[in-house]
Every structure is written in C-alpha cells, then in structure tokens.
Symmetry: C2
C-alpha cells in the first residue's frame, strides 16, 4: 500500500452542505456548481431527490441539474433514497446516483425508521434499475467512527455494511464519520479493515470536522492508499447532531493539505475559495474553511 499521487475530491457542498443550511435561491446553487466546475472539481454531488417535506432545501434539485453548465469530464451526481428519487434523478439527467445505509443499528432506526438490513433490501429495485439504465451508484455508509445514539460502532459492522453495498453493485463506498468524533488511529483501523472486504480503489473517506479531527484522520489514512475524499466547499453544512458546530470538512482545507503533500487534485485552490466565498455571501455567514479565511485576510492586507 503506497500513498496515492492523485486524489479525486468528491465535492458534496451543493448537497450534503446546503441541505444543512438555510435555503438559498436556485440561481445561487447553479452559480455554485458552475464555479466548482470552473475551479477544476471533477465530481459534484449536485442535489438530492428526497421528499421536500423532509429536506426543503433540496426541493429544486431537478431545476439545478437542468440549469447548470455541464463540463466535460465532470460528474454531476444526486442522492436518491428510493425508486421515486431515482426516477426523478434519471429524468433530470444526473450522471450518477448515491444511496446510503448506516453502520449503526440505532442510527438506522432513528434516521430512516428501519433496520440496516431492511434499508439495504429496499435499495435492491433501485440497484437493478440503475444497472438497466447504465447509471453508476455510489454507496454511503454513515456512523463509521461513532453514532449520536449508540456511541461506539464496531468496525465489523462498518465492514459488513460496506461489503453489502459493494456486493449489491455500488462501484464506490464512501465511509462517513457522520458526527466527526473519530480520531486518527481509529480511522486507520476502520479503513484497513474495510479494505480487506472492498478494494481500496473503491473506497472513499467522508469525514466531518465537528471535533476538528477530519484532516488529521485523512492524513493518517492516506498512507493506506485511499485516493477518494469527500468534502464541502467553505465547510458548508453544520452538524445536525450538534447545532452550531461544524459539519463537513472544508474542501479548501483538504486541497491545501493535498497540494502541500504533492498530491494532485486538478483543482485551482484560489478559484475554489472564491466559489466558497460567493455561496457564503448568499448564506450570510462566514466561511468555515480556515484556508479560505487565511487567504481572504491575506488578500485584504495586500
């Protein structure tokens, strides 16, 4: 296992980020996604086809996908919890879709009101439809380093759920530290265990920064060979389990670290930071990216 020389950054700001922020105008979402594409981001989770009753922030995902400029080589993906969502995503020309399951039984029950096994079984028709439509499906596993309800989550459970999603046909499994409680050795051990069941090139890290640990955990995992990492520009999205605290790792902070380690991302960092500034102005709050803050202060000092 050797360190990768290139990381695919999966930008989740327009979905995982904005679904935990105040609702912004359709035009602002379209501008954000276009700015991300222009900054060299190659994978953008652009919306979610869920009930607007549960996630009103994502009600206009079809319009978002209709209005963005699609860049060649960029994947515009959408989250689809069920067949209805999948059909809508397909109609909106999402390039890929994503499904999710929890590694914590307590979280699965509280979040989607069914067991982990039931949640996996429910995805079967969607997986079949995606295969028929030649649409790739990404699988998210939540609570891989801890759960807001049950606390500790056994690594064996993470392996089991990741393997199940992979065997159902997900081409990539994103391992989510949903509440950001993980620390480097735990993250390393979890990733190493999952990589025995799912090949490392099919694994991604999705670490939240609620306790400031996300980059440290990623730095600890990179030597294991992981090469796909999720993050959100400007650190969009708070933590629904600790309101006021941070959620997603800021893409700017991740890209800064990777470039500093001579790991390519294809992303133009100043352009990425500008995309983050623009959406924060729409949201009316400061960026949660330390790098963006430092770059801004430098610019204003010059």
């Amino acid at each position: 296992m050797t360190m990768t020389s290139r990381v695919k950054v999966v930008e989740v700001g327009p979905r995982d980020g904005l679904q935990n922020e105040a609702t912004v105008a359709l035009a602002a979402k379209v501008d954000l996604i276009n700015a991300l594409s222009n900054a060299g981001v190659s994978y953008i989770e652009s919306g979610s086809f869920v009930s607007p009753k549960w996630v009103p922030q994502m009600a206009d995902s079809a319009d978002v996908l209709a209005q963005i400029e699609r860049h060649e080589g960029v994947t515009y993906a959408a989250l689809t919890p069920n067949m209805k969502g999948f059909d809508a995503a397909l109609a909106a020309r999402a390039d890929e879709v994503a499904v999710f399951a929890a590694a914590s039984e307590a979280f699965s029950q509280k979040n989607i009101n069914c067991s982990i096994s039931e949640s996996l079984a429910r995805f079967e028709p969607l997986m079949a439809a995606a295969q028929a439509a030649d649409i790739r499906v990404r699988g998210y596993v939540s609570c891989v380093l801890g759960c807001p309800y049950q606390g500790e989550v056994p690594i064996a459970e993470v392996v089991r759920v990741a393997e199940a999603l992979y065997e159902m046909g997900c081409y990539e499994i994103s391992l989510g530290d949903t509440i950001g409680v993980g620390t480097p050795l735990h993250a390393q051990r979890m990733l190493a265990a999952v990589a025995e069941a799912v090949p490392m090139p099919q694994l991604a890290l999705h670490f939240h920064n609620t306790y400031g640990q996300a980059l440290a955990n990623i730095a600890a995992c990179l030597p294991l060979g992981v090469a796909t990492i999720d993050s959100a520009v400007a650190g969009l999205g708070g933590c629904p389990y600790a309101r006021g605290a941070s959620g997603n790792l800021a893409s700017e902070d991740l890209v800064y670290m990777l470039h500093g380690m001579d790991i390519e991302t294809g992303i133009d960092l100043p352009a990425l930071a500008q995309a983050g500034q623009a959406i924060c102005q729409q949201l009316g709050h400061k960026t949660r990216s330390q790098v963006a803050q430092a770059l801004l202060q430098q610019t204003s000092a010059e």
Copy 2:
C-alpha cells in the same frame, strides 16, 4: 522510533494566546491559569517579560505569577527575550524561562531587527545567568515550515538554529510553524531532520492552525516519537500575519485527538474546555476550539 504513550501538553494560551488578544484583566488571567492547573495541565506558559511598549497585554506578568495558586508538579514558565526580562522573571519566581530565534533570516530581521546569529549571541548572558540560577531554558524556533516574508524556509536552516539553541543549553526546543502554512509531509521531514541533531525527547511541536493543518501535521509527526506539543486553550490568539485568521492550535482539539489515540495527557478534557469558555467570555468572542464548540452544543441540547 515508536509512538509515545504519553504527551506533555505545553499550554501557551496565557502567553502566546493572550498576547494576541485584547487585554484582559489580571484576575481573569489568574483565574485562567488556576483553572488550567486544576484541569491537570502540567506546563503553563504564564507570561512574558517583554517591554509593555511592544506587548501591553503582558505588562502584568509579574502580578500574574504572584497571584496564581501554584500546584505541585506544574511548571509556570515565562518568555524572556533578554537579561532584563530574565531578571524580572526570576524575581517573579517563574519556574522556567523561554527564549526564541527564527529559522528565517527575513523574519529575524523584521521581527527583532537583527540576524539569526546576532539573536543567538544576545542570549548568551541569559543562558549563563539561567545556568547559575539553576533555571531551565526552553528555546523556540519560529518559521520552521514557512515565513511570512521570505516564504520557504530550508529545513537545513531549521536544523541549524535548533541545534544552536540546544548547544547553548536549552533543554527543549519547540519547533514553531508560526504562520501555520505547513502540511503533513513537510512537517514530518522537518522533524525527522531536526531529530538527527537534537534528541527527539528534547523536541516539541508548536504548530499554528491558520490553514487548518495543525492537527494533521501533529498526527503525521507522532509516529516519529515526538512527545511534547504546544497548544493554547480555546485556540487563544489570532494570527498577527493574517488578522482574523486562526493562530494557535486549540488545546481541547489536541487533547481530544491524543486521548482518542490512547495517548495520555493527564488532562481532564471537560475541565479544560470550561477553562477555555471562561476566558472566551472575558474576551467576548467564541472559542476557536471545534471540540469546545461541539461539547457546548451537546450540553445545551441536553
């Protein structure tokens, strides 16, 4: 080289932190240091004996050292740039003193108006006086991963300055990423190089979090065997080279990570976070510790 099972956390909040904040009342500083001692912090940089013209926030350091409750086993240290400062620190019964030099020639000239070599030579009488008084001297090296004026700083220069301070009699050398620009591989390479000239047990890391990289850099350096790390409760102190941006790494975030890695610190994390909250209330701003923010939100939710 193996990972340590215990880290000495050097708390620099009352000095490196508060010297970059608005001036707080003497009683608040005394309360802060007492709260840190009560939380199990074993080393507290408690003040600075510099000209109040340059650092008005530290003008009452003698009063601080006179009024704190001294706990057995806790070291109360002070920064002393010259003999006058050293004499004052000795009179105030500082347990230890600290001196500083830059690894960057440009920084040395701009910051203290002399070359690195001149700055080292000026410490010679202080080192002799400290030896005579049986007072230990800690040495800080600034700009070890980059300089706000010259940009890159060669690792060989860091090694040279660290070795010089060690040979002059400093018992511990704290390697400072003054502007927080470092990334994990650079930090690792720098530490490994310095450790060839100064034994690892005599080295400390002092990484600022301006670009969000501090914990990642520390996580990358821990496997090399480093066992002393500087941080500031609540992330006290901004970055003087990028106003509005973060400076010191928050002690809470560091301790959270270390405990998560089964590395002992002797520190009670909730008590540490409370100490941070109290001083932030005095300063009138939010904590810069992600862990403290998350703990606060949890508490208010319960």
